[in-house]
């Protein structure tokens, strides 16, 4: 009897899971269902290259590998409901799919500003390719751009928009841009580097309302300042796309709770065999650091989680070697990078958990590597340049220095 795996979410996590299932020897059916109209593509360029020039889906699409040539893709119809007892999912156009194995890969969507006069044009996000293409057309020289949120994506957009000749102001409630992962010293340094490129910052400010009748003309801050604006980019964190799981008993308190085999966990704390979570939604503990389950929104996590799920789900469906695979710990190294101007920022580990931060090499304002420590133990490194130092420290973080 042929088995069927349904993967909900047709982005990188869904693709990598399908590949990993095939690499593990799974030969039966795989159906991937996504809400976007595009085949899986790489999102990081959306805040960088796609905004800086004209880019098509073809330029950012992941190359389809031979082993996944027979995967069935359903684009443009989000899954809206799931029944874990009947083992079915249902899409918005009413189609129902039965599964033997289910992979939850439905990811995130941008959180939007909630303001009284929100119904104006000129509001943008940068999650999807279509978002980025829409924003690209608005980033004309001289355009007045306000970026809401000063995390990595907000800062990348700010840098790219400056490069396109826009006037850019970033607004965020934090003390410094990117301060939550990087800490104040490094974050203040990066703010100064942005300011040297004439990006304005309004830190420790919120957005109270938008001005404009039809088209956006300004952004009103919570201290009363009005920033004239043609374009607003909302890069202020995300919502988890888990509404389709609301009729299940899974723990959806933040993403989807998962065990070390990335099986979804119920509100009663039970792992569900054959139901897995990958990518941004997966909230799992990483024994490299501690036993606290966290979601990690780094680009390498969809790939790492997909590669973990493929063999486990195949073993479950074939009833071969399942217990042994489940017993293995899952210890992916969180990895991230960010391009801003000519700065290449690269990091490993969990710097946001640090209670102590120190410069390991280099100097503020130049190439440097920062070390992030918790109770005296290195738990993260972030650097600009100095790649070989970063690589050595990554090994130390992996515990095989």
């Amino acid at each position: 009897m042929s088995k069927q795996v349904v993967i909900v979410g047709a982005s990188m996590g869904g693709l990598r899971t399908a590949e990993a299932l095939r690499n593990a020897g799974y030969v039966d059916g795989i159906t991937v269902i996504g809400d976007e109209s595009h085949a899986p593509y790489n999102r990081p360029p959306l805040s960088k290259e796609v905004l800086a020039k004209e880019v098509t889906h073809e330029a950012v699409a992941f190359k389809q590998r031979q082993q996944t040539a027979d995967v069935v893709w359903k684009f443009g119809s989000p899954v809206v409901d799931a029944d874990l007892d009947a083992k079915t999912v249902t899409t918005s156009d009413g189609e129902t799919f039965s599964y033997d194995g289910l992979v939850i890969a439905s990811g995130l969507r941008p959180r939007r500003l909630d303001v009284p006069n929100g119904n104006v044009t000129g509001r943008h996000t940068v999650r999807s390719l279509d978002d980025a293409i829409g924003l690209r057309s608005a980033l004309v020289p001289g355009a007045r751009v306000v970026v809401a949120g000063a995390g990595f994506i907000g800062c990348e957009v700010a840098a790219t928009a400056r490069g396109l000749g826009c006037e850019v102001t970033a607004v965020a409630i934090d003390e410094y841009p990117m301060v939550r992962p990087l800490g104040p010293t490094f974050a203040a340094d990066l703010q100064a580097r942005h300011e040297s490129h004439d990006v304005q910052f309004r830190m420790r400010r919120g957005i109270a309302d938008l001005e404009g009748d039809g088209a956006l003309t300004g952004v009103l801050l919570d201290d009363g300042e009005l920033l004239p604006a043609d374009v607003l980019v909302e890069a202020i964190s995300s919502h988890c796309n888990t509404e389709w799981l609301n009729n299940t008993n899974l723990d959806l308190s933040n993403g989807v709770l998962a065990d070390q085999a990335l099986r979804a966990v119920t509100v009663d704390g039970n792992s569900v065999d054959g139901v897995h979570v990958v990518g941004d939604l997966a909230r799992f503990a990483n024994p490299l650091f501690d036993d606290v389950a966290r979601r990690i929104e780094h680009w390498n996590i969809p790939t790492e989680t997909g590669k973990r799920v493929g063999p486990v789900l195949n073993a479950y469906l074939s009833s071969e070697g399942f217990a042994e695979l489940v017993a293995q710990p899952f210890t992916p190294m969180p990895s991230f990078w960010s391009d801003q101007y000519d700065l290449k920022i690269q990091g490993f580990g969990m710097p946001a958990l640090a209670d102590e931060i120190a410069i390991i090499e280099g100097t503020i304002g130049s190439e440097l590597v920062m070390g992030y420590y918790r109770t005296g133990k290195l738990i993260g490194v972030v650097g600009i340049g100095l790649t070989s130092t970063l690589m050595k420290l990554r090994k130390e973080l992996m515990g095989d220095a």
């Binding site: 990081p44 680009w299 990895s335 990078w337 340049g385 790649t387 070989s388 690589m391």
Partner: protein, 63 residues
């Protein structure tokens, strides 16, 4: 044999590929990427992993 190609216009020398297939990819003394352009088919899994982890998606395998 597998043919490996790195688009050096895209490559930013992050070095993530080095962790996946250190026999194929390395950073030289100037932290610039160097790689071996051909590999035995038995190396496919690790090289595909290197393709997967490249932040710039600059690596391709030609079968």
């Amino acid at each position: 044999m597998l043919k490996i190609h790195v688009d050096m216009d895209k490559c930013q020398h992050y070095g993530q590929c080095v962790f996946e297939a250190p026999d194929i990819f390395k950073l030289n003394d100037d932290d610039k990427l160097e790689y071996v352009a051909t590999a035995d088919d038995s190396r496919r899994a690790d090289i595909e992993s290197a393709v997967d982890v490249c932040p710039m998606q600059a690596i391709t395998i030609q079968d």
